[in-house]
């Protein structure tokens, strides 16, 4: 790299563009001049701003519940039979112990507490092609809420079973859920 003051083949100064200290100085001058221009313009314009805001701005942006996009699937979805799909039961652990879909893991959904990060990490690292969540089937459905929370945490291809566990139980002959041992 040619430095300041070096000479090229034609005997010309190589560095027309400023070196670092000069660039910094020029940048400082830029800020100085544009700042002056900005201040003068602001002082002259009718809708200029006061230099110091005394009253706090009304910053009104809604705070979102961090959720992501999911899709609803029917309770007889073939995804239940796909070994590459991670099945999650979002109900309370006592309901899970009574009955759950084969291969399902239990991640009880809590409406107040966020799902623990280690659970999210385990789900993310499961290498499952898709994630299928079912819940209590109530309104709101814990399965749908858990699915949205997982999707909001960056897990992709998350589906929830419309109607939750009651809908799956009603068609056990299709989805083939079995009672837990």
């Amino acid at each position: 790299m040619r430095g300041v003051g070096s000479v090229d083949a034609r005997g010309r100064r190589a560095v027309a563009v400023s070196s670092w200290p000069i660039a910094l100085r020029d940048a400082g001058l830029f800020v100085l001049f544009t700042g002056m221009l900005a201040i003068v313009t602001n002082a002259l314009r009718e809708d200029g701003l006061p230099w110091v805001q005394k009253e706090a701005y009304e910053i009104l942006v809604p705070c979102p519940e961090t959720t992501g996009e999911t899709t609803a699937v029917r309770p007889d979805t073939p995804l239940f039979l796909d070994a590459r799909v991670l099945i999650i039961d979002g109900r309370h652990s006592r309901d899970f112990e009574k009955w759950h879909v084969e291969r399902a893991i239990n991640i009880p959904f809590d409406y107040l507490e966020p799902t623990p990060s280690d659970v999210i990490d385990r789900t993310a690292s499961s290498r499952a092609r898709e994630v299928l969540v079912y819940g209590d089937g109530k309104d709101p459905d814990s399965g749908e809420q858990l699915a949205r929370e997982l999707a909001g945490k960056g897990i992709r291809n998350v589906h929830f079973v419309a109607g939750g566990a009651p809908a799956i139980m009603a068609i056990t002959n299709v989805a083939d859920p079995r009672a837990a041992p």
């Binding site: 790299m1 040619r2 300041v4 003051g5 010309r12 100064r13 190589a14 560095v15 027309a16 563009v17 400023s18 200290p21 000069i22 660039a23 910094l24 100085r25 020029d26 940048a27 001058l29 830029f30 800020v31 100085l32 001049f33 544009t34 700042g35 002056m36 221009l37 900005a38 201040i39 003068v40 313009t41 602001n42 002082a43 002259l44 314009r45 009718e46 809708d47 200029g48 701003l49 006061p50 230099w51 110091v52 805001q53 706090a56 701005y57 009304e58 910053i59 009104l60 942006v61 809604p62 705070c63 979102p64 519940e65 961090t66 959720t67 409406y111 107040l112 507490e113 709101p140 809420q145």
Partner: protein, 467 residues
């Protein structure tokens, strides 16, 4: 030996990068310079700078962007301009990362001032800004002989005057000239600071039709001749307002259109805004249903309009909206017209939201809901789980009873039920306002919500008179 910096293709690639970056920054600074107030609001929304510096940043930054963009375009002081561009991109990237980490759902303000739905911050925004930063770095590091003024200077054998120049060779006359220039710059800057500091800036005109600035009059006439109010009259605004006694709803909507014109909104944006305002008021669709606790009511219980707000104890925007609405219904323009209910909706992303929600419900069951809530929101920054019982005592509750009620499983169940109800009503963030069961989807400034609530009240009264 030639280095990678000496490749002649760099100047062509850098030319493209410079033109692209200049176009981006010219587009970015345009609206910011035209509407510094909107840009100041964007900066304030990030909640990074102290309030005292927000306006100064909003005044100066767009002009730096403009200067840097023009310098890049002309290749004049190219490295300095590229340095500034790169530095600004680093600053923007950090700011957006902080906002994302805080879970803010907001516009990036990059091309001020779109709404969060039009230009929301996301990881894509960061990637985009990093891309622009890399372009700036490329120009900074590789554009050694730029096509433009700097290159022309080089070809003519010019060199920048500066430290690299031999100071000892400088003649006395040159030194004198340089000192004079420095003195002029110093004086100019000082005078500018004094002028800026002591010139009382004229604030934006009140956002009402009669006070619109002359440059907005033409837009107003055009929009009033074209747009129809959603209620109160079937003609265009122009014709509706020309009648002997225009409908109050038309007057409110017209005033709102003027407010939007004054804030620089486009015709399409104003059209969409009117639709959202209408959706917040007009009947249609399924109404939300609530299980309301009379302990959380504020204002006259017999007021004809019902407003319900779902809010989180740790949502900064809930604090602004809830406190403003509380003041309006208890002692302001909504007194006797609107009754306000509060429903806790703790957000999982907000630390302390559960404790805050439990505290609110405990206060509600002990008959001190609003004194406690206003205390909690007014001292928002001092929040901690331990402070809750201290505030409870300050507003007249017994500490032990308050703590006991907070720890009661029934209180937690009530909080869960409130959250579930919110989810049933499609609440996906806070604050979420409902007016007589309809979701309010319009702007969240308290003044705008108040205006819409007043319109709702007028509609209810007019309907009662018809009956």
């Amino acid at each position: 030996m030639k280095s990678v910096f000496d490749w002649p293709g760099h100047r062509l690639i850098a030319l493209g990068a410079r033109i692209y970056l200049a176009a981006v920054f010219l587009a970015a600074c345009h609206h910011k310079i035209l509407d510094p107030r909107a840009f100041a609001l964007d900066i304030a929304t990030y909640q990074i700078l102290p309030l005292q510096l927000v306006n100064l940043m909003a005044i100066v930054l767009p002009w730096i962007e403009l200067g840097a963009a023009l310098a890049l375009l002309a290749a004049w002081r190219t490295r300095a301009a590229a340095l500034l561009i790169t530095g600004m991109m680093v600053m923007f990237t950090v700011a957006i990362s902080v906002a994302l980490a805080r879970g803010l759902d907001m516009s990036c303000g990059c091309f001020a001032s779109k709404t969060a739905t039009e230009d929301p911050i996301s990881w894509h925004t960061i990637v985009r800004d990093l891309g622009w930063m890399m372009l700036g770095l490329y120009v900074l590091l590789f554009d050694r002989t730029p096509l433009g003024i700097d290159g022309w200077h080089q070809s003519k054998g010019h060199r920048w005057k500066g430290k690299e120049r031999n100071r000892h060779a400088m003649t006395r006359q040159t030194k004198k000239t340089r000192d004079r220039i420095r003195m002029i710059i110093f004086l100019g800057f000082s005078v500018t600071l004094l002028v800026g500091a002591f010139t009382p800036p004229a604030f934006a005109q009140a956002p009402r039709c009669e006070a619109l600035a002359p440059e907005h009059e033409k837009t107003k006439r055009m929009l009033f001749a074209e747009l129809h109010p959603y209620d109160g009259c079937d003609e265009t605004f122009e014709r509706c307002l020309a009648t002997k006694s225009p409908h109050p709803a038309v007057l409110r909507q017209a005033a709102d259109v003027c407010r939007l014109i004054a804030s620089g909104k486009s015709r399409d944006e104003i059209g969409r805004a009117l639709i959202k305002r209408a959706q917040s008021l007009l009947p249609g669709g399924k109404k939300a249903s609530f299980l309301l606790d009379e302990a959380t009511i504020a204002g006259d219980p017999n007021a004809p309009v019902q407003a319900v707000v779902y809010a989180c104890a740790r949502c900064p925007f809930c604090r602004v909206v809830v406190l403003a609405l509380y003041r309006e219904v208890t002692e302001g323009s909504l007194k006797g017209k609107v009754r306000l209910y509060f429903q806790p909706f703790p957000l999982k992303s907000h630390e302390g939201s559960i404790e805050g929600g439990l505290g609110m419900l405990a206060a509600a069951s002990l008959g001190k809901f609003w004194p406690f809530l206003t205390r909690l929101y007014e001292d928002y920054d001092a929040f901690s789980a331990e402070r809750l019982s201290q505030w409870a005592v300050e507003v007249g509750m017994d500490e032990a009873t308050f703590k006991e009620t907070m720890a009661n499983p029934i209180t937690r169940e009530t909080l869960v039920a409130s959250k579930q109800e919110g989810l049933r009503n499609m609440v996906d963030g806070t604050p979420a306002v409902f007016i007589d069961g309809r979701r309010y989807v319009y702007e969240l400034q308290p003044s705008v919500i108040t205006d819409v609530l007043l319109e709702a009240h007028e509609s209810v009264i007019a309907a009662r008179r018809k009956q």
